[in-house]
């Protein structure tokens, strides 16, 4: 009887999707954005195979992805305001809504019930039910400034989830960080923190959900908020880190990610410089700098924190460098190909996947030997997102 039951279940999967020919989990699967064609690939990180392509996601340049707690559903945030829920196992779109005119990213609440999307147009954050994608709350980023395209609405960046059914995000035009607390229900309690700094372009939260750090385009420095304080305030860190030095043209804004922490330090891209800034993760003082090959875009710690992998803006975006954390030395310089846009580690870090946009390839490296272990075709790949992100705060 048990055997027959399993057989029937297997049969259902066989008809649902070609690749799910047998019962399987999703813990080793991932989603790769194909930015130019509005499609995503479902990939298997154990076998290094492409399982399926899902099409019809609209403009997904600068797209990012979060996962449901069961790691079955991927929520894709598109540039065109599209929010698409994908069934990773069945490789199909479950639902898609176009919730704004221009979007930049999103987050999922710790209980898995709410999706938040940060929008440039109209500036603000919208919150959706993860099952139905119905609108739960709308938070316009009204600040009363004059230099916003929407009159008084700011573009929103650096949206992250933190424990307690809360989201934190920052207003590019206003230099404010807001906390939206949904612990009391669907009507959020808002806390607004001012004086974050000029033109915050992206932000990260540490893996414990405590320290929120925004990079500033308009100032030499970063902004730090300790979210564990009863009355959180923004304080400048590394103010004047580039003092007296000419800033280079910034051909691509760096991205700040929660993966940046390793061995008691944060490794952050310096804007307009060929440097990583090393910041003590308790005192938030600068404890070092590492000269690198170009202007860093992503600086990502391998999950064990032993290495930092860095990619770069034009004209150095064919290169990836690996830094050994204890010695802070560059131990390897790789040339995966033109336009390396993103990197994603296997959950425990034994391998890393790179998207090489202008070669239409995904390349997989062993992080111990630096040998290339696999190569897969993909159409103009950008972001790579593995399902294990479901269980990390603030990604």
């Amino acid at each position: 009887m048990m055997r027959a039951g399993l057989g029937i279940v297997a049969l259902v999967f066989l008809t649902a999707a070609a690749f799910a020919a047998e019962l399987r989990g999703t813990g080793d699967l991932g989603v790769v954005i194909e930015r130019a064609s509005g499609s995503v690939l479902i990939v298997d990180t154990s076998t290094h195979k492409r399982l399926a392509r899902v099409e019809g996601l609209g403009d997904i340049s600068h797209a990012s992805v979060v996962f449901s707690r069961d790691e079955r559903y991927a929520y894709v945030f598109g540039r065109d305001g599209g929010l698409t829920k994908i069934d990773v196992l069945e490789a199909r779109i479950v639902k898609r809504v176009v919730q704004a005119g221009n979007s930049i990213g999103g987050a999922i609440s710790d209980d898995g019930a709410l999706i938040a999307v940060s929008n440039y147009q109209p500036g603000g954050v919208r919150i959706f039910d993860t099952r139905s994608l119905n609108l739960v709350a709308d938070i316009p980023a009204a600040y009363g400034g004059t230099n916003s395209d929407d009159g008084a609405l700011s573009k929103v960046i650096g949206l992250v989830d933190v424990p307690g059914r809360r989201f934190v995000f920052t207003l590019w035009d206003a230099g404010e960080t807001w906390i939206a607390d949904f612990s009391g229900g669907d009507d959020p309690e808002l806390t607004k923190i001012g004086d974050v700094g000029a033109n915050p372009y992206d932000a990260l939260v540490t893996a414990n959900g405590r320290h929120y750090i925004a990079g500033l385009f308009g100032e030499d420095g970063l902004s730090h908020i300790d979210l564990w304080q009863a009355d959180p305030k923004a304080e400048r860190i590394l103010a004047g880190y580039g003092r007296g030095e000419a800033k280079l043209p910034v051909y691509k804004m760096p991205h700040l990610e929660g993966w940046a922490e390793a061995d008691g330090a944060l490794f952050l891209p310096a804007i307009g410089r060929h440097e990583l800034l090393v910041v003590d993760s308790k005192t938030f003082e600068e404890i070092g700098r590492i000269a690198v090959h170009g202007q860093p875009v992503f600086a990502m710690a391998r999950p064990d924190g032993r290495q930092i992998w860095v990619n770069f803006a034009l004209p150095h975006n064919d290169t990836v460098q690996v830094i050994d954390v204890p010695t802070r030395q560059i131990v390897r310089t790789l040339k995966p190909g033109p336009a390396v846009l993103h990197m994603e580690f296997a959950p425990r870090g034994h391998e890393v996947w790179l998207s090489v946009r202008d070669r239409d390839r995904l390349k997989v490296y062993d992080t111990m030997t630096f040998e290339r272990v696999a190569e897969l075709p993909a159409q103009k790949p950008s972001g790579i997102f593995f399902t294990a992100r479901a269980h990390r705060t603030g990604l």
Partner: protein, 108 residues
Amino acid sequence: MLRLLPGILVIVALFGGNARAGGDLSAAEIARLSNMVRQDCGSCHGLTLKGGLGRPLTVDQLAGMDRETVRDIILFGIDDTPMPGWLGLLSEPEADWIARALKTGAIQ
């Protein structure tokens, strides 16, 4: 008259313009520049050029700016904004081609 003008500009850009700027650039170079505009300018201005952190670069949005101005913004950037000058990565004829192509919607 005003209505006719944009149409004439498009024709000039497509035919007269190609003889100058397009004539200097090979098909491969044009493909490379189009890819760069969509993919790299697109980091801030959107893959479809409808805007992002940077303003939209659609034909409508650029209508009030002449080609030389667009070219100079590409080459030299805009002070106190995130728009960098691309001189060093792009030559003047390349920036000129991009300016013209943006204004006429000719990015491939």
